[in-house]
Each structure stands twice: as structure tokens, then as C-alpha cells.
Amino acid sequence: MNILKFISHNSMYFYIAFILFGALIGYYEKVPVSIKRHNVKLQTLCLIVLILTIGFEIGSNGEVLSALGTIGLKAAVISILSVLGTVFCISITVEVFSKKGMKNS
């Protein structure tokens, strides 16, 4: 439990290290066969446990349930503005690139 406690308290470094480590052994084909064969199932299982646990935390947290209105509003505004910002930024970049392309040709 002490190791888990240490990892939980410094989780960000471990998360970053684990995804990079996974990518490295995936790239160099050093993944153990047993993991490779069950990789999709492993992800689904972890995801189900994670979502159930998060749901449990939300359900047992009275403050969150009473603040659902504000939470929904924040969520909607962030996603709508992010999508608009994304379309805007990519449009500008595409325009700049195609102008450059025309000058070169």
C-alpha cells in the first residue's frame, strides 16, 4: 500500500512515464505476447473499472450532484468555444500555407 500511496501522490510523472514506456516497447516490438494478445480487452476492462469508480465518486459526492447545472454550462461553453477556436486556427494556417505555396509555384 505504501508504494501505491507514493505513486498516487506523484501520479503525473508515472502517467507520463507509463504511456511513453508503452510507446517505446511497442515501437521496438518488445511487447510480451500475453499482453499484445489481450491489449484491447485490457483497455476495455480498465476503462470499465475506471468509469464505475469515477461514477461512484460522483454519486457519493453531494456537492457535485447539486452543482450539475453549473457543471453542464461550463462543459458546454468550453467545448463549443474550443471547436470554434480550432476551426478558426486551422483555417488561418491553411490560408497562410496555400498563399506561400502559390508564391513558390
Binding site: 508503452g22 483497455q43 475506471l50 468550453i78 476551426v87 486556427c89 483555417s91
Partner: protein, 197 residues
């Protein structure tokens, strides 16, 4: 998959609501452990996809127009949100940095920040995926293929790839896939870094 995830979330919420909090503290360990396994496993998937590196070599830096534009555009949207709703900038940026990968960003933020912001992240990124699903065909036709890929964010490599390819020419699949992989790799890096600022 989305239906399965949302039903799991509802089952969790109901059991949490009716059972109270007898698991106090244990949930933190369960989340950490599962996240480590999940990220490791996702990392393996990303690393095994060598076509991505080949595509980048063949097509050059223009493949990064979409992910870079998505990151900047999302950041602008989050700055706007924090101004309009008077929300701490760090919080809105962390939510936006989920780039549509709602399961991971919701879980990460719940554990590293608060249950409340985690819920915002979960909902916000589900909404982003829904907006993407609805708007990609329209944006592809009226605005452009690359803009449509940006809306999908991290899900441009899997869930929304078929939608993007169907609404455009097959050549854009490379842009979509590379952008999705790059953003997927960035989510578990950017979200914790932003939260620790």
C-alpha cells in the same frame, strides 16, 4: 462503446449515491492502478503503429497543421471560457486539453484536481465528440477537410476516423490519423502538466 461507458458511469453514480462512501480512499488507489495499466496499454498501441512515423517522413510537417491548430484553437476557446464564466484559466485549459478523449480526461482530472472539474471534463469532451459527429459532414463541405479533422481532436484516429473519411476524400485519412495519434499522446502529458501549474 459510448453507450457502454455512459451506462457504467450511471451505474457508478447510482451505487455511489445509495451506498454512500464506505470505500473512502480506496477509490484513489483503484484509479491510479487502472490508469497506469490503461496508459501503458494505449502507449503500446501508439508505438506499434509505425505507419504514423512513415507518414510523417513522407508528408513532412504539413501533417502537423491540424494538431497544432487544434491545440492553439482549443486554448483560445478555453481562455474565452475563463473570461466569460469567470473560471480559473488553469481549470478550463485542463478540461480543453482532453481534446475529446472524455474517458481519460474525466478520470485524470477527477483524481488530480476535483470530482467537480472531472465531471466538467467528462461532459465537455463528450459534447465535443457529439459536436464533431454532427458537424464534420457540414464543415468538410463548407469549410474544409482539415478544419473538420481538428474538431474531432484525439478521436480523429479511431471513433471519428470513418466519419471524416466518408465526408472527404480518402487522402485525408493520413492527416486525420496522425493528428489523432499526436493529440492522444499529448492528453496524458498536457492535462497533468496544466493542473500542476
Amino acid at each position: 462503446m459510448t453507450t457502454a461507458i455512459i451506462s457504467c458511469l450511471l451505474i457508478g453514480i447510482f451505487s455511489g449515491y445509495f451506498l454512500g462512501m464506505p470505500l473512502n480512499g480506496l477509490t484513489d488507489y483503484v484509479i491510479t492502478l487502472c490508469l497506469l495499466i490503461l496508459l501503458f496499454s494505449v502507449g503500446i498501441d501508439l508505438g506499434s503503429n509505425k505507419e504514423v512515423l512513415r507518414d510523417i517522413k513522407n508528408n513532412g510537417l504539413k501533417l502537423f497543421i491540424v494538431p497544432i491548430g487544434t491545440i492553439l484553437g482549443t486554448a483560445i476557446g478555453c481562455i474565452g471560457t475563463s473570461l466569460i464564466l469567470n473560471m480559473p484559466l488553469k481549470e478550463s485549459l485542463a478540461v480543453g486539453a482532453g481534446f475529446g478523449w472524455y474517458s481519460l480526461s474525466g478520470v485524470l482530472i477527477t483524481q488530480m484536481h476535483s470530482v467537480e472539474l472531472g465531471m466538467v471534463a467528462f461532459l465537455s469532451n463528450v459534447i465535443r465528440e457529439v459536436i464533431a459527429l454532427i458537424s464534420i459532414p457540414f464543415v468538410s463541405k463548407r469549410v474544409g477537410a482539415l478544419e473538420a479533422i481538428g474538431i474531432a481532436g484525439a478521436t480523429a484516429m479511431d471513433t471519428l476516423l470513418p466519419v471524416i473519411v466518408k465526408s472527404n476524400t480518402p487522402e485525408v485519412a493520413i492527416y486525420s490519423f496522425v493528428s489523432g495519434v499526436f493529440l492522444t499522446l499529448l492528453v496524458p502529458i498536457l492535462v497533468p502538466v496544466i493542473l500542476s501549474l
